[in-house]
């Protein structure tokens, strides 16, 4: 189960309708653009790609202690197909998940589309676009970081929506969501890197081309930075409630091992200060970049 799919009943009607509106605007723009610019050939491609994302979410890899890493695919779709097509593809995926599998609610679908479609396209593609002309290993690594950051941004937005709806206390939901998704995002980023590396090697002609303007880069950068800046909230009140959320399965993915390294997004020796949190986030980001860079280089090495 993916904790990012908000079911109905968890969002207040105001928040749900607000994000429906925002998603409708973005999806409408995406539909207009693809009708005008891409032509009929793009429709079967986007449809089959949406089915690809759906099927790719079945791919998992064992991590430790019975947990496994999953793949969400929003960033990869935006990088490979361009941001507008990526939004449409993810919207279709989320709609089918809600309609067919009751994975995520109908009223909450606007928020789900925004979190997993629009935000991942913005951060995933926006960041990737910044580094698209870099040397291959750095570019792949950067794509991995983009995948990780996209997951984190959408997790944070989900947390804020739940909090604004009065469903979950802020002190619980932000560290819980970011803590879990820091690791889900690691898998996401690594698979994005490996998949992109594989595709570049096997079908170099399919190299992702720029399909969005500079605004995507700025939007993506801003959103990613906002995520890092908002992370101090995660350490605002390390409360007993955090433990409750842990006991009730919110933390199932991150129960053991690595989570303790930067527990609650704080560096032990700096204590409970915003600086500590920001530094912890930066270290996390650097670690992801390092892993992704190494993966990218070893992938190139094989070709």
């Amino acid at each position: 189960m993916q904790p990012l799919h908000i079911p109905d009943g968890f969002l207040s009607s105001t928040i749900a309708l607000l994000f429906w509106l925002a998603s409708a605007v973005m999806v409408g723009l995406a539909a207009r653009r693809s009708e005008r610019g891409l032509g009929e050939r793009q429709i079967p491609l986007m449809g089959v790609m949406a089915a690809f994302i759906f099927a790719a979410q079945m791919l998992n890899f064992p991590v430790a202690g019975g947990t496994s890493g999953h793949f969400l695919g929003g960033a990869l779709a935006a990088i490979l197909l361009g941001p507008w097509a990526g939004i449409l593809v993810m919207t279709a995926v989320i709609a089918v998940q809600a309609l067919l599998f009751q994975d995520g609610g109908l009223l909450a679908m606007g928020a789900n589309i925004f979190n997993m479609g629009v935000v991942t396209a913005l951060v995933g593609y926006g960041l990737y676009r910044l580094g698209r002309n870099w040397p291959p290993a750095a570019r792949l690594a950067w794509a991995g970081l983009a995948g990780w950051a996209a997951t984190m941004s959408s997790a944070l937005l989900t947390a804020l929506q739940l909090w604004l709806s009065g469903t979950i206390a802020l002190q619980v939901v932000v560290p819980a969501m970011l803590g879990v998704h820091a690791f889900i995002g690691l898998g996401e980023g690594a698979i994005t890197v490996a998949a992109l590396g594989f595709i570049e090697r096997v079908r170099p002609d399919l190299q992702p081309r720029a399909r969005g303007g500079l605004a995507w880069t700025w939007g993506g950068l801003l959103l990613a930075l906002a995520t890092v800046m908002l992370a101090p909230l995660a350490s605002a009140h390390p409360d007993g409630l955090e433990r409750v959320a842990q006991d009730f399965g919110f933390f199932t993915l991150a129960q053991d091992g690595p989570y303790q390294l930067l527990a609650g997004y704080r560096l032990p020796f700096l204590g409970d200060t915003p600086l500590s949190t920001v530094l912890a986030s930066a270290i996390g980001a650097l670690a992801v970049f390092g892993v992704a860079f190494w993966l990218g280089r070893s992938l190139r090495g094989e070709s």
Partner: protein
């Protein structure tokens, strides 16, 4: 699981609910869920009435009264995420639990809030289950198109639905191939390091992407050969009959009645 043919949630039957126009069902279903979100916390009578309406709809669909109830439990695990609502500081403390170094005090307001969230979520899931069980998916997509969803989007959703099964089978084949090459002795750790596993999975994703991409190309060529013009056509008229309007009016009255119960009582 060797094949992905168990995906379709549609239950073929001939009932008044099955015959109803898909647009009416979508609008009423979303209206029901929106109504749940609008109800105030602790409107137990209204929640009960909503569930009653749902049970009647179940019976009218010829699926058995408890059909959606039985299906709804898969959505419950997420509901536990709302458990922290129990400890809203605003209300009167009910009791105190000691949990290791922490002391937790559930409050009466918190309890009401938690139960209300749980009920809303649970009723909404049941409504969605009923909608998909009584409406064939292609009809659902056409309903969305009639409800002014962009045509590109409905076409993409239609393609997604059509190739979902094919590509899921493809993914299962890849996973089976991985499994077949991953022999292990009982009690001994097998396979490579974690990065190695991640890379293997990434290659699976890349492979799946390429196969999907090439399939999309073939699909497009085949559809061009059959006269594809950029959107999907249907022979169904999709016209609202008098019975559909009557059902819509009745459902609207019921939804308003539930709101009235929730806010007045």
């Amino acid at each position: 699981m060797t094949h992905a043919n168990l995906f379709d949630r549609y239950h073929a039957a001939d009932s008044p609910l099955h015959r109803l126009d898909a647009r009416v069902k979508v609008v009423v279903g979303v209206g029901f869920i929106l109504g749940n979100a609008l109800l105030p916390d602790g409107a137990w009578r209204a929640f009960a009435c909503a569930w009653g309406a749902l049970l009647i709809a179940n019976a009218r669909a010829g699926l058995g009264v408890w059909f959606t109830l039985r299906r709804s439990f898969l959505a419950l695990p997420f509901a536990l995420a709302a458990v922290s609502a129990l400890f809203l500081p605003a209300g009167r403390p009910l009791t105190e639990w000691t949990l290791g170094p922490w002391r937790l005090t559930p409050t009466d307001l918190g309890l009401v809030r938690f139960l209300s969230i749980l009920l809303r979520s649970w009723l909404s899931v049941q409504a969605a289950i009923l909608l998909t069980a009584t409406t064939p998916f292609p009809d659902l997509i056409h309903a969305l198109e009639h409800l002014r969803l962009p045509r590109v989007l409905t076409a993409v959703i239609a393609f997604l639905y059509r190739y979902l099964f094919v590509l899921t089978d493809e993914a299962l084949r890849l996973l089976r191939a991985r499994q077949a090459r991953s022999a292990s002795l009982p009690g001994r750790r097998s396979g490579g390091t974690l990065p190695w596993r991640v890379r293997t999975t990434g290659h699976l994703a890349g492979q799946l992407f390429l196969r999907s991409y090439e399939r999309a190309d073939r699909v497009y060529q085949a559809m061009l050969a059959r006269g594809y013009r950029g959107y999907l056509r249907t022979l169904r008229p999709h016209r609202l009959r008098a019975a559909d309007w009557r059902a819509l009016a009745l459902a609207a009255l019921v939804l308003l009645w539930i709101q009235w119960i929730g806010w007045v009582y």
